[in-house]
Symmetry: C2
Subunit: 132 residues, 2 copies
């Protein structure tokens, strides 16, 4: 109707959000489905490319390498390639990446607790449906 959606430039708003909201900031760095998983596996130390692949069987090679490159350009991991054949490439957390440990561990802890609580409520729901 007469309502003119006045969301001026959404880019402007996004800029504003990025300036003021740290959660938005971290989402730009570790958002997406795979990045936290990759980082989580790197918490236990330097890993070769194929070690990561095997540790995360559901990821495709394209996704793995793509996100590794993004993490590298965001200075969260370091890529070290030894000039040998066959290739020997390792990925290691930078100090900034290491500092994500607190975040990732907090995530994992929450997940473990929540999945416990949730399986309880699932059982409750099953019981409830059986009682109807």
């Amino acid at each position: 109707m007469t309502a003119i959606k006045n969301e001026s430039t959404i880019q402007e708003n996004k800029g504003f959000a990025l300036e003021k909201c740290p959660v938005t900031y971290i989402m730009e760095k570790i958002g997406g489905h795979w990045k936290p998983i990759i980082l989580y596996h790197l918490l236990s130390g330097t890993k070769r490319y194929n070690e990561l692949r095997r540790a995360i069987p559901a990821i495709t090679e394209k996704m793995l390498i793509q996100h590794l490159k993004q993490l590298e350009s965001d200075k969260l991991v370091v890529r070290i390639a030894k000039p040998v054949v066959p290739p020997y490439v390792t990925y290691t957390l930078t100090p900034a990446g290491e500092k994500l440990r607190k975040v990732l561990i907090a995530m994992a802890e929450w997940a473990i607790e929540d999945s416990k609580d949730n399986s309880l409520t699932i059982y409750e729901n099953i019981n409830a449906s059986l009682l109807q």
Copy 2:
């Protein structure tokens, strides 16, 4: 939980990942661009729908309501609607949602530190009330 048998290798792998990887689990709940931001704003207490809108100017109404509903069905927030006109609807963290405080604060703290190190933008310090 027993994995659902599936012909697809990918689905099987995803099931495996979900079973074994808590980080994957939490990504299913708070993954995506907007959810952590919404949850972060709810840390400071119950908010009306429009309060959230104004707090997150970059989000569209569709995204906001969509994610609020998902968060509700994942038992992370509670929606309470007073039967009045004009509508009065509030969103509050559940106990499970409250437990995300550690995760979200860790995220925010990391973001502030990292952005300083990158000397991009100096953020204002987090609202102290969020840290209690």
